[in-house]
């Protein structure tokens, strides 16, 4: 066992699989709702879990363009699936919430926010790309002098326990986006799952004091150098086995300078404008507000909910939508994600998680569309020379 003063930010230690339950019990004892991966309806999703038994033990997920399915692994890994079907986004940026209620009576009009204390959540099993996505959403919801109160409250109370990816998925390209697979920032603790024929352990690396507080209550032992070495080797191999790649070199300009390329029309013929990609993307932040009045006519409320640039009413102005064609809407989504984000928030809005590829019913692949546009741009350039 490690002594309490050895367990501090920067320290590495080992938690055995047999003791993994402790992690969840300690988190619960500290007042956290533990949100972690579990199998539901044929997919790994992030939900509140009570104990380690809910984790997707021995589950593998296979994804391809337009496909997602679970399989059994040869081992008993707890985090052997690729990042979950839905990201952590709904827990910080709620799909729907009441912003305020308005009361009107006589000469009074007043607005009050609902008094709902934000839950104190521990996210267990976050991947590097998912932490990167949250960092991006922070820039949207917590920038400037008016942070989003709901997001900020949920975010500031949350504890992030990350897991380094032991393998890459068919649709993963975090290496291209420089967001993974190694967890390097944004987390409180990070685990690397180490499975050997005779042992099943987790290398625990402590990043923050909040993480150390939890770690101190766990039965940890010192990490052996070869365990740290194995964790590094696993990550190196994961980085080598990305299923997809996206060449980001000059991509922003390629997108922004080719808004009239024929590729947009081509993808529009396949895109159903179903908005799935925007629903599963961990960085999409668009939202809308709706104002509803109670039947008594004296109270009303404003609701905020996720919105998608694929919906026609998203760009509605009196007289009609600004982007009536699917072509313009796909172009908006992809150009925003991979190019305008950089102007707006300093980085690409894509972390390379591959969800939009797996969950597209039309098997549209953002990496392929970007490559096609690049080819078009290069041909146009060559034509000019």
């Amino acid at each position: 066992m490690l002594s309490a003063d050895q367990v501090k930010p920067g320290a590495q230690a080992v938690l055995s699989r047999a003791d993994f339950d402790h992690l969840i019990t300690v988190l619960q004892a500290e007042g956290y709702d533990v949100i972690g991966p579990t199998v539901d309806n044929g997919a790994v999703v992030y939900q509140e879990i009570d104990n380690a038994g809910a984790l997707p033990e021995g589950v593998a997920s296979r994804q391809a363009a337009g496909r997602y399915r679970l399989e059994k692994r040869a081992d008993n890994a707890l985090f052997g699936y690729i990042a979950g079907a839905q990201s952590w986004r709904p827990y910080l940026f709620q799909p729907s919430r009441t912003v305020w209620r308005a009361e009107k009576s006589g000469d009074e009009l007043s607005f009050t926010e609902p008094e709902e204390p934000a839950p104190k959540m521990a996210f267990l099993g976050m991947r590097a790309c998912e932490l990167a996505a949250i960092e991006l959403q922070d820039r949207v919801f917590m920038n400037g002098d008016a942070p989003d109160p709901d997001y900020a409250a949920r975010r500031s109370g949350a504890l992030f326990i990350a897991v380094n990816c032991g393998e890459a998925g068919e649709t993963c390209f975090c290496v291209s986006m420089d967001t993974g697979p190694k967890v390097t920032r944004g987390h409180d603790l990070v685990l690397t799952e180490l499975i050997a024929p005779d042992a099943h352990d987790f290398l625990v690396e402590i990043e923050t004091e909040a993480g150390a507080e939890i770690a101190r209550k766990l039965p940890l032992r010192a990490a052996e150098p070869q365990e740290v070495g194995r964790a590094d080797a696993i990550l190196a191999e994961t980085a080598q086995s990305m299923g997809r790649a996206l060449d980001t070199n000059g991509l922003k300009e390629i997108l922004q300078d080719n808004q009239d390329a024929p590729q947009w029309g081509d993808v529009a013929e396949r895109c159903l404008s179903c908005a799935n990609c925007t629903l599963v993307c961990p960085t999409c932040f668009c939202n809308t507000t709706e104002d509803v009045t109670a039947l008594d006519g004296e109270s009303a409320e404003r609701r905020q909910r996720w919105a998608s640039c694929f919906n026609l009413d998203f760009s509605y102005l009196h007289g009609g939508p600004v982007r009536p064609s699917v072509e313009a809407r796909y172009r908006q989504w992809m150009t925003h994600k991979l190019a305008h984000w950089i102007d707006q928030f300093g980085d690409s809005g894509c972390v390379g998680c591959g969800r939009c590829i797996s969950w597209c019913p039309a098997s549209i692949d953002i990496t392929e569309e970007a490559a096609a546009l690049r080819r078009h741009a290069e041909e146009a350039d060559n034509g000019e020379n």
Partner: protein, 281 residues
């Protein structure tokens, strides 16, 4: 953990009272608003807008059309076109509305200091320009020529008739108006505003133009100004997009890389011209 102080919630409107209402045309009214809580005087820049909330109906962006020196009351000129603007102007004096703002980047009136200032308004576009005009006229000597050109559908849809009479009467303002059609009782111009731009007196080497109106009209007006050698970086336009949040967080108002609510609504033409010419941006 409770929510961040409700006071800082950027979505929460302040309560303002309609203290005056004047119908400008059959479907357009100018409302004067004062804060219900007297402490809320509101400084603003010409060209900025507020989000106005009609109880239960919803919330929409509306430009401020009043004098920027008068911060105790806020003036809005609203055309009733739909489910929010209709109830907004159906309000009677004394009614309460919600208001968030002011938002956005406005007209850079300072950029015209020492130069000719051209104001080109189409239809309701005169409302967002009015604060810039009033501001410039308050310090008339800071500018060379001030030219105001205004195009409207017909004589009945002209806004701010009092101002128009005032501007027309001033020897130090070049004011002209044109309408698309009129009866015989109209003695002014009939025809597109481009004709007025073509004939306007200004020094293209030393002028700044502010244009506000329907997007097509702004594009054509800018082309006409450029044909008269006014450079793109001396031309400013005000854009309109669907808006829900007004502080770069809902994504609705995006125009290429720009958030119209925060980076605009007023943009310098050279920064957005390529986007303006691309369909369905």
């Amino acid at each position: 953990m409770t929510a961040v102080s409700a006071q800082t919630d950027p979505y929460r409107p302040q309560v303002w009272r309609i203290v005056e209402k004047q119908m400008e045309t059959a479907d357009t009214a100018t409302l004067a608003l004062e804060p219900k809580d007297r402490a809320n005087a509101m400084p603003f820049e010409p060209g900025q807008f507020n989000m106005l909330y009609a109880f239960g109906g919803g919330e929409v962006p509306i430009s401020i059309s009043g004098d920027p020196r008068e911060t105790g009351r806020i003036i809005h000129t609203i055309r009733a076109v739909g489910s929010v603007t209709r109830p907004l102007i159906a309000h009677e004096r004394g009614a309460l509305v919600g208001l968030r703002g002011p938002f956005g980047a406005g007209w850079p009136v300072e950029a015209a200091r020492g130069k000719d200032l051209l104001i080109i308004a189409g239809g309701l576009g005169l409302a967002p320009l009015r604060p810039a005009i009033l501001d410039a006229l308050h310090r008339r000597s800071a500018f060379q020529r001030i030219v105001i050109l205004y195009g409207a559908k017909d004589p009945d849809s002209l806004l701010f008739l009092g101002d128009i009479a005032d501007w027309r009467g001033r020897p130090d303002v070049g004011f002209d108006v044109t309408v698309d059609r009129a009866g015989q009782d109209w003695h002014g111009n009939i025809g597109v505003i481009l004709r007025l731009i073509k004939a306007a007196h200004f020094d293209p080497a030393n002028a700044v133009a502010f244009i506000c109106g329907p997007e097509v009209m702004m594009r054509l007006a800018a082309d006409e100004l450029m044909a008269r050698d006014l450079p793109q970086d001396s031309i400013y336009v005000s854009l309109e997009r669907n808006m829900k949040c007004a502080f770069a967080r809902c994504g609705h108002c995006q125009f290429g890389p720009h958030f119209v609510c925060k980076d605009g609504p007023v943009f310098r033409l050279d920064r957005i011209r390529a986007l303006l010419q691309t369909p369905e941006i």
